[in-house]
Structure formats: structure tokens, C-alpha cells
Symmetry: C2
Subunit: 210 residues, 2 copies
DNA sequence: TAGATTGTTAATCGATTAACAATC
DNA sequence: TAGATTGTTAATCGATTAACAATC
């Protein structure tokens, strides 16, 4: 299905909002409630659902449990996703210790770095030399990688990841990596995000950026 | 000027691409070159420029130096931006040590945390107790803050920032903060970014996400 | 049943692209 | 001058919203 990126982002937000509603004891929702919780129109909610053939009942709305299950399936969160990180610098380390991923069914299984001082091959979450990335990824059939190396090293690391079979990359290096063939790249540029805040802060009309 | 977020993101990308072109020795560019460098259409480049009254010459294209200057002005990069960080955990620490900001005219001037073990008031980049945030921000007239605290603490920290006069916030807590009144908030959600990679990786049609 | 909510179609809105006259 | 590139208008494309018939 060829779908708008914003639509997929909304799907994630619906899932998160539903989790909160469930914890609060709710069993069903209407498009109206969910729209409020996420900050979109009810029509948008129903439209998004209809794209993915998610149906409710005409007067009863949607069952929260079923909805969460369907969204998790669409978003590929049925099974645990194993992820490797290249780069054990500041950002790599922060990501490696970040708790948020585990709760979302994402498991960082290994980190790789060129600096021998960073290595820690016996740790629960081991840090291996970068040369081992290819064999590790192949052996464990990893599909997702995070790039957290300096911009100068990023293209080579991307190349290593691609040749070893990785299909999805989240890039934190401040250089825009372009996807080739059948690989997906999401570039997160921290300077750019901050630059955006500064621009809209100075511009007369305030906006909700994300 | 009320402008599309994607347009502003492109402006930042043009600026970055121009910096590289300048370093390579180029003095002028055509919309065609810049479009190639950034991965958009030449028409898009000219359209974006025309929105901000950036003009070139009909056959000579655009002078790179002038262009960079104009873009920097539009993006509010004329003067150094002072920024504070709330939270000296993994992400806060990574951001505080991150080199990329300085090059972009962004200076982290102070970090705040509730954990007494994290404090370091005498460092070049000091870590103060969170209670000092308000007075510091007011005293130094800071306009931009980064939130890197757990999601449970994020709303209170936002409130503190707003009351002390901060107008722009970059939020890394995995909870979507909504802007009130005349404040700008940009939410960066790491799980969501990774979730997106996973979705598009599994979907048949690959895309360039950013 | 009467009332409320879905699912979908059509209308609207906005952003991107194409095209071309102006002009260097 | 001839040729190439800008700046802008109009056309296209796509996403969001409104509206409403279907129906629980």
C-alpha cells in the first residue's frame, strides 16, 4: 500500500492514544474521542481507518483492544524488532541506554564502533568493533540499523549495512543519506529540528510543528 | 509569513547544500544545480525563493554568498541562539556534548536537572538544579529550551519554561506536548521515527522519508 | 422507533509542478 | 543576436474536510 507518511505517523499516534485510553479503563472509542486525543478531525480518523480496512460498528464505535491489535499489525509491531547501532559516541550511547524502545517492541541487540576504547564485547548489550557489523547482521538476520557516527563516516557505514542485508535505516548523522534500491532511510537532523523551532518562534504566526 | 513547514525544511537544506557548494569553490548556482543537490525540482527551488522574495539574475542564476546570507537571515541565524536543556539524562547529556549545534550558531548555555548527583555548577557548561531554571532563563533572556526529561515530568517542565519566557521548545520526551498561546513546540519522538522506518521497510513501495 | 455514528463520496484546500513570457 | 535561465501564473496532483446515506 502506497501511503502518505503523515498518515502512518497518525496511525502511530492513534495507537499511543489508545494505549492511554485503555489504561484509563475505556473499552471503546468513537472517531470523535480519538480525534480529540490526537488533535485531528474525526473525519480524518475514519478516513485513515478506511484506507486500512479498519471498521467499527455504526453506532458502537470501535473496540479499543481490537483497534490496538490491528494498528500494531499494520505498523509491524507483531514481533520484536532487532536493531543494531553503528557508533557508540554521545548519541549512540544515549540510544543504547534509552528505555523507550523496549516498551515499543524494539530491541537494540548490538552496537559497533571503530574506537577500541569503546568496545565491550562481553556486556549484555555488547559493543563490537565495526568490522564485525556485517557478519553479525547476516548471522542474526537483522533488518534495521541506526547510524550514529560522524557525517564523514556515515556513507561508508550505510554501505556496510546495505551489503549485509539491512533494509531500514534511521540516520542521526547530520548528512542526508539517500536511499538506493529497496532500502528505506529516515534522516533525523537535530540541528534542523532546532532551526525549525527558531524560525517559527520568530515568525508572527505560531504553529504546532509535530 | 504563514508558510508550510516543508518549505522551511527545504530552506535549511538549501542553506546546507550551498555551504558545501561554496566549500567546493563554486560562486554561483542555478536552480537546476541546487535542485539536484537537495533532491527537489528546479521549479520548487524557484518557487520557494520567490515566496521569500529571493531573486537571482535571469541568466546568471544566484550568487552563493548572497543566497546563504539571505537564507541565514530568514532562518534567524544572524545572531547566536542561546539554548537551555532540561534533563541531564542520556539524551540531555548527548545533546549537551553534541558538536553539531555550535557550527550552526546554536549555543547550549546551561543544563538543569533534579538529580543532585548530576549537578556541576562550576563547569564551562554548568548543570544546575531544576529550581534555578526560571531565574536563569529570565536573567539571560533565553528564548529556546530543549526538554529531555522523562514523559511524566515533561508537562511541568514545559510549564516552567513557558512562565519564564521561553518561546520555542524542542521536546524529546515521548509525549506529545501541545503548544499554548504564542509558543512553538517541535516534538521529536524517537520510537515513532523508528516505527516509521519499520513500516515503510515492510511495505512493498520504498520511500525516501526525509 | 429515534438518534447517533460509521464509511465513503464529493468538495475543498493547499502544495507541487509545468509552462512560458520576460530578460540577461 | 541567440540561447539559457529566472519569476510567476496556471494546471495538476494529492491530502484533508464536509456531508450524508446507510445502519446499528
Amino acid at each position: 500500500m502506497i501511503t502518505n507518511r503523515n498518515c502512518i505517523i497518525r496511525l502511530s499516534r492513534y495507537k499511543n492514544a489508545l494505549g492511554r485510553l485503555k489504561q484509563m479503563g475505556f473499552v471503546k472509542v468513537f472517531s470523535d474521542n480519538l480525534a480529540d486525543a490526537v488533535g485531528v478531525t474525526p473525519a480524518q480518523v475514519r478516513k485513515d481507518f478506511s484506507i486500512f480496512d479498519i471498521t467499527g460498528s455504526k453506532r458502537g464505535g470501535y473496540q479499543i483492544d481490537q483497534l490496538i491489535e490491528k494498528l500494531n499489525h499494520i505498523l509491524g509491531k507483531d514481533e520484536l524488532q532487532k536493531v543494531v547501532i553503528a557508533g557508540a559516541g554521545h548519541i549512540g550511547t544515549a540510544l543504547m541506554k534509552y528505555k523507550g524502545f523496549q516498551q515499543e517492541g524494539i530491541k537494540i541487540v548490538a552496537v559497533f564502533d571503530i574506537d577500541p576504547g569503546k568496545l565491550d564485547e562481553k556486556a549484555e548489550l555488547p559493543v563490537y568493533p565495526l568490522e564485525k557489523l556485517k557478519s553479525f547482521v547476516r548471522e542474526h538476520n537483522i533488518k534495521v540499523g541506526i547510524i550514529a557516527v560522524p557525517d564523514t563516516a556515515a556513507p561508508q557505514v550505510l554501505e556496510m549495512m546495505i551489503t549485509s542485508g539491512i533494509k531500514g535505516v534511521l540516520n542521526f548523522a547530520p548528512i542526508r543519506l539517500r536511499p538506493s534500491q529497496d532500502i528505506v532511510i529516515n534522516n533525523v537532523n537535530l540541528e534542523l529540528e532546532l532551526e525549525n523551532v527558531i524560525y517559527y518562534m520568530k515568525s508572527p504566526l505560531t504553529q504546532d510543528l509535530h
